[in-house]
């Protein structure tokens, strides 16, 4: 007789051990849905959580469900906050989370935050609450000063990573670095590139010298080039280096000194920094070029000939960020030399200039799409494009996963035919079946959205600006893009109809941002009242909402799903449209 295996009698610790091999959040969530006992076991052994919108759930709920978490990642403000579209004071405060976790997760080791407001008080609380704290990553955050950093440096005995990527730090003193005690030797990654003021260089040198595990070091602009060689000699094991200002008086011995220091760094894979480059010093990094897989020259005002010389030596390059000084000719050279290239970002050197200042056109990108078979991620700023070019790129690179094109002037048509760029982007979504992220620009009608809704089935994030003709456009996207998680729209003629008709879709997405569109206050209220699991927030700085007719369009609208209900920290210019709030408005 066959004995049926009873899952409930399977030893819990065996299950837990099996689960420990499952890291992905999606898989973990799936596990927790199998049955009650798996749910219980899984929730006790989940060690890492990711909350893509800090207002989608409350810290208390998270701690209640997952009692023993070691690593937390939170995101706050909507993406368009990067471009100053979200007013100061909007929110994204992390303090309530830290406060709750100080008691809920005493063993917390890692905190990663993106676009959140972090105060010195918060940093001090982190520093004293988590005895085994190891990793702090603050990406595009703000609200703290060097005093907060000093608290972290002084108290986190086992700190491994302090990464301040592009955050805004208030400079009150350069001495904070000296607060790392002499006993701190555990540092693996230090990124202070965004810190404006000078840090105490001797403290930095000593810190680097006593950190044998240091692999990532990103200096700020204030660290002069002549100090770099000494630092490199103390840390030849570095794999990622961000230089400070890359300029110095030209002295031949300085150049050879620096080149020698670089030669010693045999494991260097990625470089960044390069502010204020003096091209004569570029040859110093030639010794490491062939090993580089990632190069960020997006702050470097180097002209095309020097760039060509540089990238031609980086045959193993997988990721390049560069200014448009590289021009079409430089991209041609890139396409010829760097066959492993996966990601290319070209930023504008003069984004507000009326006339082009460099010879960078669609040809450059077409070239790279032809020459680099692994190219899958593109961010490209330029001033003209054509449907033909887009179709060519789409055909060359069906493996494209992230495609962001920014034609600098809004509503620019195909420069050859003066037609909208619908066909071109249509080809992108039709051919690139794995496309996860797309940003549109140029002249676009509702047709492009029809294409997107039809073909872009794996699309997760879409950014739209100055595009479309009617609600049809929005409707196509909301009804067609099954995997859509984040949609951000600005300055498009999308109004109430499509939004209301696709209300249910919004619960399957993380968030929707619409600014300078045609959504009426009335529609927002309707949406907010009918959809209790959505937070429908109207952002309007023009004064009290009831001073205008309900049919008037709102300035900005941010809708996100949440199980935590309306948030408590909305400033005066943000209103939640649910039932109770509606009473307050009238």
């Amino acid at each position: 007789m066959l004995k049926r295996m009873s899952y409930s009698s399977f030893p819990e610790d065996v299950l837990e051990h099996v689960f420990s091999f499952v890291q992905s959040d999606k898989d973990r969530n799936a596990i927790s849905l199998v049955c009650k006992s798996w749910f219980e076991i899984e929730r006790w052994c989940r060690r890492r959580i990711f909350v893509g919108n800090c207002y989608a759930v409350s810290p208390r709920m998270v701690i209640r469900r997952f009692p023993d978490v070691r690593s937390v990642e939170l995101k706050g403000k909507p993406h368009f906050a990067d471009f100053n579209l979200v007013p100061e004071g909007w929110g994204g405060h992390v303090y309530p989370w830290i406060y709750a976790m100080a008691t809920g997760y005493p063993c917390l080791e890692e905190i990663r935050l993106k676009r959140m407001v972090v105060t010195d008080e918060t940093l001090e609380l982190i520093a004293k609450s988590f005895k085994n704290f190891k990793v702090l990553v603050l990406s595009s955050c703000e609200g703290f000063s060097t005093h907060g950093l000093a608290a972290i440096a002084a108290n986190c005995r086992n700190l491994r990573e302090l990464d301040l990527r592009e955050s805004e730090v208030e400079d009150l003193s350069g001495n904070w670095l000296s607060h790392f005690p002499d006993t701190c030797t555990s540092l693996v990654a230090l990124n202070i590139a965004c810190v404006g003021s000078e840090v105490s260089f001797s403290a930095l040198e000593r810190l680097v010298g006593r950190s044998p595990c240091l692999r990532t070091l990103r200096l700020n602009r204030a660290v002069p080039l002549d100090k770099l060689a000494n630092l490199l000699r103390r840390a030849p094991q570095l794999t990622e280096l961000g230089t400070g200002a890359y300029s110095s008086d030209l002295r031949p011995e300085a150049l050879s000194n620096l080149a020698g220091a670089f030669s010693g760094c045999k494991e260097l894979k990625g470089m960044s920094g390069f502010w204020d480059v003096v091209p004569a010093y570029l040859p110093a990094i030639y010794p490491v070029c062939s090993g580089l897989t990632s190069l960020n020259l997006s702050y470097a005002s180097i002209q095309s000939p020097d760039l060509i010389k540089l990238v031609s030596q980086c045959q193993n390059l997988q990721r390049l960020w560069v200014l448009d000084y590289i021009e079409d000719s430089g991209l041609e050279a890139l396409a010829a030399s760097c066959k492993d290239l996966q990601e290319l970002r070209v930023f504008p050197s003069e984004p507000f200039g009326v006339e082009p200042n460099v010879s960078l056109t669609e040809q450059g990108l077409v070239c790279v799409s032809e020459g680099c078979p692994k190219l899958e991620s593109v961010l490209y700023f330029c001033r003209r494009f054509s449907n033909d070019a887009l179709v060519t790129i789409a055909r060359n690179r069906p493996n494209m996963t992230r495609f962001r094109l920014c034609i600098i002037e809004p509503r620019t048509p195909d420069y050859l035919t003066h037609q909208p760029l619908d066909t071109g982007f249509g080809a992108i979504v039709e051919n690139c079946k794995y496309l996860r992220r797309l940003s549109l620009s140029g002249l676009l009608t509702d047709l492009v959205f029809e294409y997107i809704g039809t073909y872009a089935k794996k699309l997760e994030m879409l950014s739209v600006a100055f595009a479309g003709e009617s609600d049809l456009g929005l409707h196509h996207v909301l009804s067609g893009c099954e995997g859509l998680r984040k949609l951000e729209i600005r300055d498009c003629p999308f109004g109430d109809k499509a939004l209301l008709a696709n209300a249910a879709k919004l619960e399957t997405m993380r968030s929707l941002w619409m600014s300078s569109c045609l959504v009426s206050l009335e529609a927002c209220k309707l949406l907010g009242q009918k959809m209790p699991r959505l937070n429908v927030e109207v952002i309007d700085e023009r004064g009290p909402l009831d001073s205008r007719p309900k049919s008037f369009p709102v300035e900005k609208l941010y809708i996100y799903r949440s199980v935590a209900g309306p948030r408590f920290d909305m400033p005066g210019f943000v209103w939640n449209m649910d039932e109770d709030s509606a009473l307050r408005l009238s």
């Binding site: 003629p493 619960e507 300078s516 959809m531 023009r542």
Partner: protein, 360 residues
């Protein structure tokens, strides 16, 4: 709880777009997992696969209780006529013979929506029907044109609501400024011009907030770089120059782009408008100001009268009164600003004078 169907007509299927929208997206999810049914035991949804199961349940329940009266709010604009032609119903009903559905109710097959010519005709017909006079004619107001313009601004929309779609106008910057007190901060003619636009050529490029989409960190870095390079030429560096402005008593601070202004007067009025919402609060929102937006002149009185002064922190870390130095010098040296009570600012004036003397 009423179902998440908004503006639904009385007729039965297949006229419920929102249902279809949800079920089409849910169906495809379910198609991938024909055997497995997701259940949410604990009633706690997290931001993941559980949600789709919940939504499916909701939409399944609601399929049986479809007969909603069209009592939903009409979303026609003020002044729109013909009450019998409810645009919401018209939108959804395929039973009305003379109305064409705006949106395709079913894709012609499961997986792909056919982009056939006949379908397109439906759309354009429906579009024409709608632009007759119901709504803002999106196609007219925002017809795609190669010429650059300021992009859609709510200010211009406000101007045109209720009227028949007029000839397309450029959203006038001035009107936009009146309607939106912060427009001065956001959209304006770039009076300094770009680096390339040095002559008195008429083409001043209006700067739109947040466009092109470049992060502040990068913009500021570029600005500093080009300033270093241009110092010899004396050209103004392009790009934005955001500084924080705080106000005593206000719960949060604001940011302004100093490049948007060419003199103190402009900065001052922009700040007054920006911080008016705080001053309203102090003034008492229940009084006569309750329903009206505080007028500019009243606010000026409040600010200029006695209560507040505008100060800034310069590169040396000193707090100075705004207005003492030439505008160009001010932009160069201002790190951030603070609107402080006059009583607190008394000590500043002598220092400012001294500093000026030392400089000269």
């Amino acid at each position: 709880m009423s179902p998440p169907l908004l503006g639904v007509g009385e007729e039965g299927p297949p006229n419920n777009i929102s249902l279809l929208a949800s079920s089409s997206s849910i169906d495809s999810v379910c198609q991938n997992n024909p055997e497995l049914k997701e259940r949410n035991y604990m009633g706690l949804s997290d931001c993941s696969s559980e949600d789709s199961s919940v939504v499916t349940n909701v939409s399944n329940e609601n399929k049986t209780s479809l007969n909603l009266k069209a009592t939903e709010l009409r979303l026609g604009l003020p002044g729109s006529q013909s009450p019998e032609r409810n645009p919401d119903i018209c939108l959804l009903s395929s039973a009305k013979l003379d109305e064409k559905p705006l949106f395709p109710l079913h894709p012609t097959n499961d997986s792909h929506y056919q982009l056939q010519k006949n379908n397109k005709r439906v759309f354009s017909d429906a579009m024409d029907g709608f632009s007759e006079g119901k709504y803002l004619s999106n196609s007219e107001l925002l017809s795609p044109r190669p010429a650059p313009n300021l992009g859609l601004k709510s200010g211009s929309v406000l101007e045109n609501l209720g009227a028949q779609p007029a000839k397309t106008k450029e959203p006038a910057t001035q009107k936009a400024t009146q309607e939106r007190p912060h427009a001065a901060n956001e959209t304006r003619s770039n009076q300094n011009g770009s680096a390339n636009n040095t002559s008195s050529a008429p083409a001043t490029k209006a700067q739109v907030v947040g466009w092109p989409p470049i992060r502040s960190f990068r913009k500021n870095s570029l600005a500093t770089t080009s300033k270093n390079n241009d110092e010899v030429d004396g050209k103004a560096a392009p790009g934005a120059l955001f500084v924080k402005v705080s106000m005593d008593g206000a719960p949060y601070l604001r940011k302004v782009d100093l490049k948007n202004y060419s003199k103190y007067q402009e900065l001052s009025s922009a700040l007054e408008k920006m911080f008016s919402c705080f001053t309203i609060g102090q003034y008492g929102s229940h009084g006569g100001l309750g329903r009206e937006i505080l007028s500019e002149s009243k606010l000026k009185d409040l600010l200029h009268g006695s209560e507040f002064v505008l100060t800034y922190e310069d590169k040396d870390g000193d707090w100075m009164l705004v207005g003492d130095v030439p505008w160009e010098m001010f932009i160069d040296t201002c790190k951030r600003m603070r609107i402080m009570k006059s009583s607190d600012a008394i000590g500043l004036a002598p220092r400012a004078m001294e500093k000026c003397k030392n400089r000269n």
